[in-house]
Subunit: 254 residues, 2 copies
């Protein structure tokens, strides 16, 4: 089934395919009963939200702000949860108003997860001001915190067997639930990078890798969608656009 | 300067811009004299080879082969350098005819470089048979060895000050020398991932990161070019194509 066919059979308002055209599970894959969502799940209100605006406090990274946060804690958005401010202050020992990758890792470890540095750097790269070095201020930290809260909610909702791990079907459903109908071939390719490539079906993602996968799928899809104004399922990209869209999601330094 | 303008001003046979339109160095960047190539370098025969076929023994990864290598050393291509065969055999202790990531790391360490595992896994992912797990046989190992030999030659040619490191201008020239005129903004974005993002101009790539950068630029550009048959500098991609082109270059498992 080509993307073209899949996308074109839908209204221009809906980028996500309708339920019957969900990427099928692999033919020889039988999901355990407790991970198979009821079909009504496909009617989740988010499933068709692809084209909607997601607020900057959502599960995606924020658009670049026009100014670099200056030093100081007055830059936390009004109404910021005191826990968020406290977490930032605890790791920003030099009171510079910025935290680096290892400080972010530490700040998140108590409330969220002990993320590995690769995920931390991807998050920082996506949230930091484009012209800023790999560090974030109160505003970006607050947005990142909120974003991770959303992803945690999604993780918990779709980890139906409460295993603390998301399997390939749960990942597919979770992404579908937030409006991303990702072709099976694409998910398989991505998941094959999370084990030795032998069998993507056996991959189980902890929260760390789930966030990484989710940010990659959402980030790349949103960028593609920006270029596909008519929601046709295809887009014309210049070489520069293509490379600039992709590179933020690639390697991070060690 | 938009890509469109740059590409369209050239013949459809040449994807790489002509010399005067090389991505300019940053305005406040003064290259040391010994890294500034003579202008005749831009007439290097490779500089316009963008559209040419590169043999599988070149500096790129091979097209997927139609069959998985079976076990045994008879699968080394005829005429394979005995050093290559010996290196493979030394690490394939169980004589399975396949080596995994850590064995590859070990096999390359004596003749090339002590690559970090991230680069090793990128190389394996690009060279392995698509349906094979993260391991390679004699044929792929031989192709990878040859590819790295090409990249080493390029590294040595463009590391003009023999520092053992490639700086941003040397990288730009090296890529240009093999036919890839990469826009300055794209190179800057990529290089910013190799330090803390503060100043890409200070990035210096060892052979390891040079190979990683080179494989990423070459790999993504070649894939884009496959979709840009007229060498117009832009291509129409389906969402599935886009994601499938990009994912192989993303994260690898830890």
């Amino acid at each position: 089934m080509s993307s073209y066919g899949r996308y074109n059979s839908h209204s221009s308002q809906s980028y996500a395919p309708s339920a019957p055209e969900l990427p099928p599970p692999p033919s020889n894959y039988t999901p355990p009963n407790n991970t198979s969502p009821p079909s009504s799940n496909y009617n989740h209100p988010h499933a068709y939200s692809y084209g909607q605006q997601v607020s900057s406090s959502g599960y995606g990274y924020p658009p670049p702000s026009s100014s670099v946060s200056s030093s100081g804690y007055s830059n936390f958005p009004p109404g910021t949860n005191p826990d968020v401010i406290r977490s930032f202050q605890m790791v920003d020992r030099d009171r510079s108003g910025f935290i680096d990758d290892r400080e972010l890792q530490q700040a998140l470890s108590s409330s969220f997860h002990s993320f590995n540095l690769r995920t931390i750097r991807l998050l920082m790269f996506l949230f930091k001001h484009p012209h800023e070095s790999l560090r974030i201020g109160p505003k970006e930290f607050s947005e990142l915190w909120s974003c991770l809260g959303h992803w945690r909610g999604i993780f918990e909702r779709y980890d139906k067997d409460r295993s603390g791990k998301i399997d390939p079907l749960e990942l597919r459903d979770a992404l579908y639930g937030i409006g991303y109908a990702v072709p099976a071939s694409v998910l398989q390719l991505l998941l094959s990078k999370y084990n030795d490539g032998s069998n993507y079906r056996r991959v189980e993602l902890g929260f760390d890798s789930f966030v990484e996968c989710g940010m990659i799928i959402k980030g790349l899809t949103d960028k593609f969608k920006d270029k596909d104004k008519r929601y046709s399922g295809s887009a014309t990209l210049s070489y520069d656009d293509f490379m600039s869209m992709v590179i933020p999601f690639l390697v991070s330094y060690d």
